[in-house]
């Protein structure tokens, strides 16, 4: 793989995602930033906690 091109691919994808934009790449799929709101959960000790929100990335492969 072309390392220089791979770096450019990475920077372009990260740039758009961190700006909150979804990116569709033909033949591969769609990368989309997702905000997961705070939610209640139970930890290992059985103690109820409020899990902080989280921004993450969601990938949907093409053809699904």
């Amino acid at each position: 793989m072309d390392k220089k091109f791979n770096n450019a691919f990475r920077e372009a994808l990260r740039g758009f995602i961190t700006e909150g934009k979804s990116v569709s790449v033909s033949g591969l799929g769609t990368f989309k930033p997702v905000h997961m709101k705070q939610h209640e959960a139970e930890n290992e000790d059985g103690l109820k906690v409020l899990v902080p929100p989280r921004d993450t990335i969601e990938f949907t492969p093409e053809g699904t």
Partner: protein, 501 residues
């Protein structure tokens, strides 16, 4: 949410590399084919981006840690907040939980402190508004998540927190009662001990008094005996002298004897009378006069003195011993003292309960009032906020309404004396200046706002802007749900560990 299609993506890469679109499309296609081919056999990792893999027939992508941290920079470093309040009496368990939190923090720090290229993202972070998302596609899903979360938070945590609070209060009341009972028992034991000591002291005093009286009586008896002996000697001497005088002048004139004897006899008699009078005064009255004149009168006197001493001792014992257990003037006093000390201990119980929880009813009321105000006015003007307190002040005494209202709530002035209150984080910014500006803006809108510094696992610094101070998580969640847009969808309940430096 803005969408970047394939053509726009190719143009961006072409611009970065200085390639034509055709060259870029060709290289991009090669890369995609390589990813698909290699992911079918295992995993394909692109440094700084993530790992592609095939699970079943689907291609999956997992961002690497640096990418994930960059995306999640708004919330990086936030730890789960325990919903159930730690009980006051279980300070040890609270300390344990705190220790666990610290351990979790360290674990996150160790996990995320890898090869994060900080320089690449600082500018991006500075420019964007972290909470200004346009979630067209994720909106409904996110709203659904929030709704279900909100329902759970409205019901379970509230009940649990309320139950925990009640349990804590009941436990505290029980503890106070037990302590009061123990104190009362200890006091009763101390009083009983003191009573015993008093009785022993009284008995000792009575014994000493009886001994002293017996000694005085003996002394008086000895003086009386001495006086009587002296009187008898003087009387005998006077009689002898008189007889001698009578014997010398018998032949001349017997009438003269009385004239000559009379002064001496009278003096002796007077002296004896005075001595008798003195001894009688010093001794107890009631001793027959003839006993003194009789030779065996000492025995009677001793018996009388002993009887008197016994009577005195018995009287003393009766006064200090027997009466001390029955008459109200002596021993009821400690009982009354005990009873009068009990009520304050009982009446202090509610106050202790209030101080233990740290939330007085008026504080809770003030907080509910503040929440009600937010309900009516999502973006409350400062004028209305300042206009409300005087009306409350008229309805209730000023010291009660004003002081608690300033302690907690969504609006007003940030109280920096409160330790680790719950708050609503609404901004996470890379620039302190931006954080200060946002905080000032919120403060001018009537919210009590602050900002604080957070160090992320990768070592970078974030400035988080928060509004409100709350005693528990339920009140914070309630207030957050009523914040104006866009905050209801982009916030997090946290605790203020330290105020802005």
């Amino acid at each position: 949410m803005e969408k970047i299609n394939h053509i726009q993506f190719v143009e961006d890469i072409a611009g970065k590399l200085g390639l034509t679109e055709e060259e870029t499309v060709k290289k991009l296609t090669e890369l995609i084919l390589t990813i698909k081919e290699k992911s079918g056999k295992g995993e394909v990792a692109i440094d700084g981006l993530g790992t592609f893999a095939t699970k079943g027939k689907s291609l999956t992508f997992t961002p690497d840690e640096s990418f994930e941290l960059e995306i999640n920079h708004n919330y990086a470093g936030m730890m789960p907040v325990v919903i159930e309040e730690p009980k006051p009496e279980t300070a040890a368990s609270a300390a344990k939980a705190k220790k666990e939190d610290e351990t979790a923090d360290e674990a996150v720090a160790e996990t995320d402190a890898d090869d994060f290229e900080e320089e690449e993202f600082v500018d991006v972070i500075d420019e964007q508004d972290p909470f200004d998302f346009d979630d067209d596609e994720t909106g409904p899903e996110s709203s659904k998540t929030l709704k279900s979360t909100g329902d759970e938070i409205d019901e379970d945590p509230g009940d649990a927190a309320e139950k925990a609070r009640k349990a804590a209060l009941e436990a505290e009341e029980k503890k106070i009662k037990e302590e009061a009972e123990a104190a009362r028992k200890a006091e009763q034991e101390a009083l009983a001990e003191e009573k015993k000591k008093k009785e022993a002291a009284a008995a000792a005093a009575a014994t000493a008094l009886a001994a002293r009286k017996a000694e005085e009586t003996e002394k008086a008896r000895q003086e009386e005996e001495k006086a009587r002996t002296s009187e008898a000697e003087k009387a005998a001497a006077a009689k002898e002298t008189a007889l001698e005088a009578a014997g010398e002048e018998t032949g001349s004139e017997e009438d003269i004897q009385p004239k000559w004897i009379e002064p001496e006899a009278e003096t002796a008699q007077k002296t004896a009378a005075e001595a008798r009078s003195d001894t009688t005064k010093s001794a107890k009255k009631g001793i027959p006069a003839y006993d003194r004149a009789r030779p065996d009168s000492n025995t009677g006197t001793i018996i009388a003195i002993l009887v008197a001493a016994v009577v005195v001792v018995a009287g003393a014992l009766y006064f200090f011993g027997f009466l001390s257990g029955s008459q109200p003037g002596t021993t009821v006093t400690p009982v009354i003292t005990e009873q009068t000390e009990l009520p304050p201990a009982v009446t202090e119980q509610p106050e202790i309960g209030e101080t233990e929880t740290g939330i007085s009813p008026m504080e809770q009321l003030a907080e509910q009032e503040a929440a009600r105000d937010v309900t009516e006015q999502p973006v409350p003007p400062v004028d209305e906020q300042t206009a409300t307190p005087p009306a409350e002040t008229q309805a209730a005494p000023a010291p009660v309404t004003t002081a608690p209202a300033a302690a907690y709530g969504l609006r007003g002035t940030m109280n920096t004396t409160l330790q680790r209150p719950y708050t609503i984080v609404v901004h996470s910014l890379a620039s302190r200046t931006d954080a200060e500006r946002e905080s000032s803006s919120l403060a001018s809108a009537g919210f009590r706002s602050t900002y604080f510094r957070v160090e992320l696992p990768n070592g970078s610094i974030r400035w988080r802007v928060a509004v409100g101070q709350f005693t528990n998580i339920d009140n914070a969640v309630e207030a957050a749900s009523r914040l104006p847009e866009p905050y209801p969808a982009n916030h997090f309940i946290s605790r203020i560990e330290s105020y802005n430096p």
